[in-house]
Amino acid sequence: MNLSDSKKKLAAAGVVCGIAAACLAYFGNPANMALCIACFIRDTAGALGMHSAETVQYARPEIVGLVLGAFIISTATGEYRSMAGSSPMTRFVLGVVLAVGSLVFLGCPLRMIIRMSAGDLNAWVALIGFVLGAATGVFALKKGFSLGRAHLANRVSGGMLPAVMLGILILALASTVLRSSESGPGSMHAPILLSLIGGLIFGAFAQKSRMCFAGSVRDVILMKNFDLLTIIGGFFAVMLIFNIASGRFVPAFDTPGIIAHSEHLWSILGMYAVGFAAVLAGGCPLRQLILAGQGSSDSAVTVLGMFAGAAMAHNFGLAASGTSVNAETQEVIAGAVPLNGRVAVIICIIVCFIIAFTNKRSEGR
């Protein structure tokens, strides 16, 4: 099955992913967060006890499903390739940046698109930062940035992250050792089986279509190629229709209850860091999960970096809070980015610049 030989098929792949995300939102995932890689990795990190924020702890089967979906489809179609060795520690740090930047904005690029489709104007503001960040990454590529080549590795190496994900799923289903939120976003979720199936389908189609948010911006800037953007277009269209049909489309800034804030500068800078790091790492958070599923140990290390970054975001008070309503007074409490989060984003951007302009093609061969 070739999904990428025409724009129509690419758009159709985006539509399928959109339907999967819409189903997850309809059946219980948090409003406006149908499928967010950063948030769900953060929740899973919480379930594993990597942080102690009690409202965001739940082993999200979607994350497991995305990795296993990509693993299964790539194995079945002969595209599984165990590769490793392209600056793994640098990729770990970029994974941390991806998580911290996303949790300051309150969403990965995937959720940014979902928030945009629900009329959240804060996400449209953040898009500016994401595009500028990706453009900075493209500039670095033009200046010779490289993390070096990956090499074929032992076949089992590429299967390690899928195996770990399967282990997390088994623990979630067959034991009580994982933490699980009783209130807050971590307590809101679709039924486990549906979440897993949604993740598997999304992962398989994302693998076949090469869906990537950073890659789509990179390709447009670098080659005026709109293939990857077409997939995002199909995804956005479905989520827009779903949000309008279900009465969730609210074009506004300060909307309580959707886990978002209106600190525009920090939305822009948070997503700037994410766009920049994603181009340097060769893919957005979603793409890292998919690449890890099809055998890239380098992407698996980036995923581990995202787990560490998500844990740091809550252990060190970096993550932003969403706008909410005081249940007693009905007063709107504006969401905010804490000082620690602001400092962390600045550090993340500096780290990206250092990585971008000190890792050269001539060194990594």
Partner: protein
């Protein structure tokens, strides 16, 4: 929209190699352009150099003389 035709497609180990290829080909006026690696070749999301089939010898010479390492050379519809 470009009409699809059979082309020479050079894939690389890194994106930086593809960028170096573009720079070198521009410098030596070798025809071609950067494209995303065609899906039929790879599930990865790197960049490739696409050139007319009859430029194969010139493309190989430019890579050899400028130390650009290819991953593979393909002929496919682009």
């Amino acid at each position: 929209m470009r009409k699809k035709e059979r082309k020479l497609v050079v894939t690389f180990h890194t994106t930086a190699d593809a960028m170096a290829m573009e720079k070198t080909c521009r410098e030596f006026r070798v025809p071609g352009r950067l494209i995303p690696v065609p899906r039929v070749i790879s599930a990865g999301c790197g960049l490739a150099w696409c050139a007319p089939l009859d430029e194969r010898a010139q493309v190989e010479r430019v890579m050899r003389e400028n130390g650009i390492e290819q991953e593979a050379l393909h002929e496919c519809m682009v």
